[in-house]
């Protein structure tokens, strides 16, 4: 997320979790032209926002945009529809961030582009 055009373009998947289910079963968020097996046909689906942690790490030395919220966990999450996505974990004590933990995606502020730029919203995960 780097400018207002990109912000607007990414609203369907970042705000509403609009994803694709390809005919070969692959579920993708965000959208792509072709699945890893070469399938091009898909239906649009909306993810429920529920899933579990496949893997995670704690970021202690983030890039400048995120230095004021460090340290924070980032996880690879598999949603109940089978999509795999990367999300920051919020509002969760670190001891609850575990592989296999159930999470729910929530609408949060991801980053602000300085004091005068666009505010980027999107999904983060909370361990439930």
């Amino acid at each position: 997320m780097a400018n207002s055009q990109r912000y607007t373009r990414e609203i369907p998947h970042r705000f509403r979790l609009e994803a694709q289910k390809f005919e070969d079963g692959f579920v993708s968020l965000p959208n792509r032209y072709i699945s890893p097996s070469g399938c091009k046909n898909f239906e649009k689906i909306t993810l429920s926002g529920k899933g579990k942690i496949l893997s995670y790490t704690i970021i202690s030395t983030p890039s400048d945009q995120f230095k004021l919220i460090k340290p924070f966990p980032v996880a690879i999450i598999e949603t109940e529809e089978g999509a795999r996505l990367t999300a920051m974990i919020t509002d969760t004590p670190f001891e609850k961030v575990k592989i296999g933990a159930n999470v729910e995606l929530v609408f949060r502020k991801i980053m602000e582009e300085g004091h005068s730029g666009i505010i980027n919203y999107g999904y983060k995960a909370i361990v439930i």
């Binding site: 705000f15 004021l68 509002d91 929530v106 949060r108 502020k109 505010i119």
Partner: protein, 348 residues
Amino acid sequence: MVGIVGYGSYVPRYSIKISTITDQWGENASTVENGLLLTEKTVPGRDEDSLTIAVQAAKYALQRAQIDPQKIGAVYIGSESHPYVVKPSGTILADALGIGPDVHTADFEFACKAGSEAMFVAYSHVKSGNMEYALGIGADTSQGAPGDALEYAASAGGSAFIFGTENVIADVIETHSYATDTADFWRREAEKYPRHGGRFTGDPAYFKHVLNSASIVMEKAKMKASDFAHAVFHMPNGRFPRKAGKTLGFTSEQMQQGLVVSLMGNTYSGSSITGFSAILDILKPGERALLVSFGSGAGSDSFIFEATDKIVDVQNKAPQIWDQLKSSRIYLTYGQYVAYRKKIQFNN
């Protein structure tokens, strides 16, 4: 009849104890707690603002209403802390929840009554037959200058209400609005913190508007205090609403459920309407509730609601507000609090 078909409230998971703030400023904790009748207040997380709070509250409202978001014809958000000065909160919320693009949106401001204002207009649209459903929201990450009395109460949270005509859980029986130009509290363009008239915020502002608005709405409906199961008045602190309710003839029991201020603080545009949401969480079919907001500058909106049989079907479909205020709280130090609230200046 026109009424509420879904409601939801959200408060951030973070709080600060009043004693943590008094320690910082050399005040006596029990004096402040007994003066304001609150012991802690909610604080937005670093990735939260009035919009993310509004989105979560509206999600809960949709969970309870079980309607197609595309049928919502209007989205109104009232706040003193819209994330942008120019760029509407309503469009962001509508896009986040799959409402629109065929939707009317507007952001409202009227100090602490912007939320009930949004409800009033949403209700009026449905009543006029303009649309099937309309969404009114009040949410704030309230501002209070460091060391100012406001800092002990200014907090974060919000509530959302969907109005419609089918599967109504609480009918709107009567409304009234009362407003005059009163300089009790204000914030100029680009100023970070509001200013206020100290004790002038009491009798000539809060009590004049709240008491008139509430008395007139009860008069219009030919009702008296004993006709209500619950009543809630705007909560700048714990003392003002108790005094207003008592003056109007309400008992402590009638006001207890709505007094979320004791743990939540004053969520400005989200204050009285979140107290009302707490009432909806327990309101029984046939029972009536009185909601009276107050916004400095100054005005007050009053609503009389009566619960239908359907209310019991939705009360447990989303998190209830007292449960949120009492569970999984994360308490902040004063240093964390000023960083979370951006009360210290960071480099761009």
